[in-house]
Amino acid sequence: MENEYIGYIVSGSFGEGLTFKVNTFVNPENIRIGDFVVVEGKNMDYLCVIDDIRLKATTDEVFFDPPVDEEVDGGIEKIAASSYIYNEISIFPYLALPKSANVFGTTVKTLPTHFAKVRNVRSQDFLRIIPQKNAFFIGTPLTSSERLYIDLEKLSMRNTGLFGITGSGKSFLARIIFAGLIKQGISTLLVFDMHNEHGRSIRTEDGRSIDSLASLFPDRVKIFDVSTANKDANKYIEISYKDVEPEDIALVEDQLKFSPKSLETLEIVAQKESNWLEYLLDIYDNISDKKGEAERLGVNLESLDALVRHLKKLKTLDFLKNIGKSNSINEIIENLENGVSVVVQFSGNYRDDRLTYYFVSNVITRRIFEKFSEQSEGSIKNRVTIAIEEAHKFLSKQYEATNIFGRIAREMRKFNVTLFIIDQRPSEIDPEVLSQIGTRLVMELKDENDISAVFQGSSHSKRLVKILSTLEQKQALVFGYAVPLPLPINVRPYDEEFVKEMKDIKKKNAKDEIY
């Protein structure tokens, strides 16, 4: 068996972490940022994550007469020079593992001594990370194949953020977590499925069709769609004019190409006209004395004309109707209250249409907020998780605190409603909302501002930034409430094996594997 001891501790502090020197015959290129190692102390072992690697020399002389390449002499001169050149690795201890086996890890309160040995992590070490019965297999370490788990119960108790550039694998990771939440009955989901990925099936990278949420859990997931073109849908959504508030229009002002005065004009009209949307979409055009109308409403005529013109785009939304309060939104709410998850899809002409996505998501969510906040705290037994993509649109700094998603992020935890936000531009999300996020799953990010944003409010951000910078597609850094230590992971594949596991009638959880 290859020697698993790779070094020994040479320095450290409680705030800054530990440093170990790599043993002479260990190839430092096999040590990677984000790897796990264990420091064997006298009373405790310490589960650590590597966050920096440094090349050191005790004298400059070695650079003026360097040892020859290994290919020349089989590595003799390099071994000889090992007292002068060495590798130093920075690690941070996140979890203290008591020496007794099968005892779970605890918060680190002490440090190991000088020369404590550092070794590669073993499978048994990972099994001692999460003690809760809701441990869910989420992926493997970056350079090995042991299983890593997260606590889905804890994840669902607070807002969650999943961040990454386009193509990093966010949708797959989101779907894995959604499936876990539904399978273990931890949370009921309302997923605003912008790209129709969480319905009946999806296409894998190699073009095969594979079951998605509604097929995995046919009794526990319903599909609602704004388009009747979707034959997989259980119900079609209709939104009444009366369901719409000015705030819903404000969210899509870019898509409607509002002029600067349009929003102000809209607010004034909405205050003056109870059926303001019907007035603007259906009635105003037929009024002959438009100047008189503008004076009556107390707005500028040109602004009013412009507003009506821009709002015409809403007429292309067939699901938006001048009817009484629509039942479809009530049905969505009823499903959620009964523990049935809902996937809201946007098919046909509305596929990938941002106007429809933002508009419909805001309207439905606002109704949910109103309904749930009527109830007393703690009376809602079902935990509800609302999943939104392109979250920076809903939660950006430019919108005021009254924006509905912002209010849910800040206020709805006591009503058992949390957000699961999926986004590629976290720097555009209101920092206050970011600070409310309990668990962060961060995939590949390139923009410096986005990288700074995801670590806002979290400890060890400098350390974690280095790990994040090395992540590739389908890898993630998970940290926060749902995991006792930051977990750099290869996300488990969403494949036939996963589908089989989710459909398995016998409920198998991590505890079965540990004991």
Partner: protein
Amino acid sequence: MEKMHIAEIVSIEGLDILAEPKERATLPIGTLLKTTKVNSIVFVVLDDLYMNMIPGGSHDAYGIPEDKIEEMYPHVSDYLRYLVRIYPLAELDKDHLFHVSKSPVMNALLYEVESEEVKNILENSFVVRELSLIDIGKFPKRNKAIINLLRNYFLQFDENERTEKLKDFLPVLSSSFRRDYASLMEIVRGVKG
């Protein structure tokens, strides 16, 4: 039959110890010698020289080639002697090696250390450390002596084993010479060939 000695200690001034070989120029630098009678000390040969035992004299003053001196002036060896400079590395006590704690004895006889014994001696890391502590200013041929010593040691192993043995030995050598990179690399390059 008792083994014959090959040299005799003739001068001791602190760590500056001279021995006279029975035969001239037969002890290359790097050879290990030992005393056995009064105390048992292992020495390494660090230099050889001709010394005029009359203070102030020099064989150069004769003005004739060295190989002609004895022929023409047989008495010259009474005053001009071929000597080797040796350095104490370790003390042997019941097959264990220790740091030198006793002084060598004047006129002590020196015997060659056998190959198998050389192996055992060099497997003690403190001996390697002692070699690194020899003052190169006083003993300028120190590194060459170490190279010769180690080359002979590794020649005892067959070719396949030699490189691995050298690699196993290097961490100790490297650690001992951790303050003298230039000497370390000179020695390593001299040994590996």
